[in-house]
Symmetry: C2
Subunit: 257 residues, 2 copies
């Protein structure tokens, strides 16, 4: 039985940050430094080429903890952060850089590489969630959210589609090619983000992936701007989305109209 | 010179509601019952067949006042609420009901009727804004927002396109046919709403109107659901949008990431 092994911990600005491993996978758990005994959990998947403590990840975690009172967990995806790359990882990363330098489309490489990574990452997320739910401050009964963009969506869509413990998800900024079929099996509330002027993902592809979700409650947020120009206020919107769906007792504290 | 003539006033739950007329046009001004001397103003346009105090209007006003600290003003559009209908109004409304009963598309009638209403309503909004800005609690220097969906967008797009005092707008749920040209002259931040399963407005039409805005900062919110199923949390999102753009000193009080 995998358990959470805490390896280090610090507290700043009311947020406790604890590094951990589960079955050798390095992760981090952010929590309110004080508060009720239990709180809902949000799992966060990072983007391609980054890692669990990328500044954008820490910023989102800080919002979720401070404004939503959540526990937030992230792990390094296979081949990312503190984890070794396989020869296949190296080969695909080299192909991606070659395409980028040649000005060729990145999409076909990202789509196929991320689909392979998802095959490795989904069981890891499941094992991590099993272990996290054994912590007394999280527990096995509470609702769980998933928040992941870019590669975090390539892994998140097949994960959410097959993991009934996830009851709300913020996803986006990826192609539908390898994901639309799994998206059609997702019925939980989804907030989905695209960039209206994305230079990598055709607008119609982003819209097609949003359209694929079977969820009766789903919202598309499309912002003017290029692939990497997602506005920071979307992190705030995600906090309110998870608060509405995972933490309704706190909704009174956050305006929801 | 048109001035605001207050005709009645009540206060409930911390919100002051004052009926007024400007040049004979009936309006309502909602304000915080207490607070700083001045606050930014949001103008709200109502939908077709409704009026300035439709429940949805009052609900949005209450959010904007309570959570944003705004003044909020609405007026009855021509032929709506307490205002007489012209023979042309009667003719178009009859045509709309005939189409509805026959199961024929409402779009062509709504588009042409609302475009004609906008020709009357835009100068009225301008005169109302002139008069409101002479009130000491509003003033002529502060930023002004516009929030109107459906017919409120048919009137709002030409209004915002030609009124430099409007510096941020929430619009949506209308066809691009008569509006795209004016939308291309709008450069202020826009939050634009569509319904993903709108039975009246084709999805591609909603997307085309969003695409037309020249604003570098624009966000599309597309929600699953039919024409009249706009989720109530979008009113909350509008409060935060206006707070970011019109009331940045309050932004610290509202999570924004």
């Amino acid at each position: 039985m995998n358990t959470v092994q805490f390896t280090a911990g610090t507290t700043s600005d009311g947020m406790l940050e604890r590094d951990f491993t589960v079955a050798g996978i390095p992760g981090v758990l952010w929590s309110p430094a004080s508060g009720p005994e239990r709180a809902p959990l949000v799992l966060m998947g990072h983007g391609g080429g980054t890692h669990k403590k990328w500044p954008g990840m820490v910023g989102r975690a800080r919002r979720l903890v401070a404004d939503g009172g959540f526990h937030v967990a992230a792990v390094d995806a296979p081949g990312h952060g503190g984890r070794p790359r396989t020869p296949y990882d190296e080969q695909e990363i080299a192909a991606l850089y070659r395409a980028r330098e040649a000005g060729e489309p990145e999409g076909p490489i990202v789509v196929r590489y991320n689909a392979r990574l998802a095959e490795r990452a989904v069981p890891e997320w499941r094992a991590t969630l099993d272990a996290l739910q054994r912590l007394p401050e999280i527990g096995a009964e509470g609702p769980v959210g998933y928040f992941g963009l870019n590669m975090g969506t390539a892994i998140g869509v097949p994960f959410v589609a097959t993991e009934p413990r996830i009851t709300a998800a913020v996803l986006g900024v990826h192609w539908p090619d390898a994901l639309a079929e799994a998206a059609r099996r997702i019925t939980v509330p989804v907030e989905f983000l695209i960039q209206w002027d994305d230079e990598h993902i055709p607008r119609s592809s982003g819209l097609a992936l949003f359209d694929a979700f079977a969820s009766t409650e789903k919202t598309l947020h499309a912002n003017a701007g290029r692939h990497k120009e997602l506005p920071r206020f979307e992190a705030d919107s995600a906090v309110r989305f998870f608060t509405r769906h995972l933490h309704p007792s706190r909704t009174a504290a956050v305006p929801t109209a």
